[in-house]
């Protein structure tokens, strides 16, 4: 048992691809719990997932009209995630948050804060930033250097378990 206890557990490498509320929630639960388990944890944030990591005060992001339109059509920020089904103009998420409160379930934003405090590294995808016209200033503080798929795969190659959400 001692040797097992001495060893650092296997790392976790999450791809946070979806910007939907339920998947964002799952990603934040796994990231915070993995850190609590002592697993070195990295979250590669790409495509719609990157919208979750835009600073709350940012309303319109992007450089050209298409990028701006996309951010207007789908409000960025962790507090504005929509359910993939039964969103009903925000009624669905509202009910989910009411139930979460009733059952002592932490919101994605709280889990993100806990995960970051425990050393989870959130790494933005450079390609997505380019495509959506996002700058590092648009993203929440404390994120890592923007990287590509090869860097994510190097985490897996080095032994971290991959999870795609």
């Amino acid at each position: 048992m001692t040797t097992e206890a001495e060893a650092t557990p296997r790392g976790l490498a999450i791809i946070c691809y979806s910007g939907e509320l339920e998947k964002t929630w799952a990603a934040m639960i796994l990231a915070s719990t993995a850190a609590a388990m002592g697993m070195p944890t990295k979250v590669f944030v790409t495509f719609w997932g990157l919208q979750t990591f835009v600073k709350p005060e940012k309303r319109v992001t992007g450089k050209n009209w298409m990028q701006k339109m996309l951010s207007i059509m789908s409000r960025p920020g962790i507090a504005h995630r929509k359910l993939s089904k039964m969103n009903f103009l925000g009624m669905g998420p509202w009910m989910m948050f009411q139930l979460a409160k009733q059952y002592g379930v932490s919101k994605p934003a709280e889990l993100l804060e806990a995960a970051a405090a425990m050393g989870v590294e959130f790494v933005p995808c450079q390609m997505t930033m380019d495509m959506f016209g996002l700058t590092r200033e648009d993203l929440i503080d404390g994120m890592g250097e923007p990287v590509g798929a090869a860097t994510y795969l190097s985490y897996v190659a080095e032994g971290s378990a991959p999870i795609f959400i």
Binding site: S32, T33, M37, G104, V105, M118
Partner: protein
């Protein structure tokens, strides 16, 4: 068994009892005891799994009126 630090995770659901435990145990030195109170029935299996993976020892586990009590010794 008197604990050095106590965490009240009553009313909190997965994964917060474990997250709060991990955060609290950081402040302890090796051999010190941490006591956690929780009401999440899933925490029984979760604390065993957490202890096994992190190497901290689960030295005591009791339940009283729906409140689960875990005592862990920091490795």
């Amino acid at each position: 068994m008197a604990a050095d630090v106590q965490v009240d995770a009553k009313g909190l659901n997965c994964p917060m009892p474990i997250v709060k435990t991990a955060q609290a145990i950081k402040g302890l030195t090796s051999g010190q005891l941490l006591e956690v109170l929780a009401t999440d029935p899933g925490s029984v299996k979760d604390f065993a799994a957490w202890a096994k993976t992190t190497g901290n020892e689960l030295v005591e586990q009791t339940v009283d009126g729906g409140v689960y009590r875990f005592v862990m010794r920091k490795k």
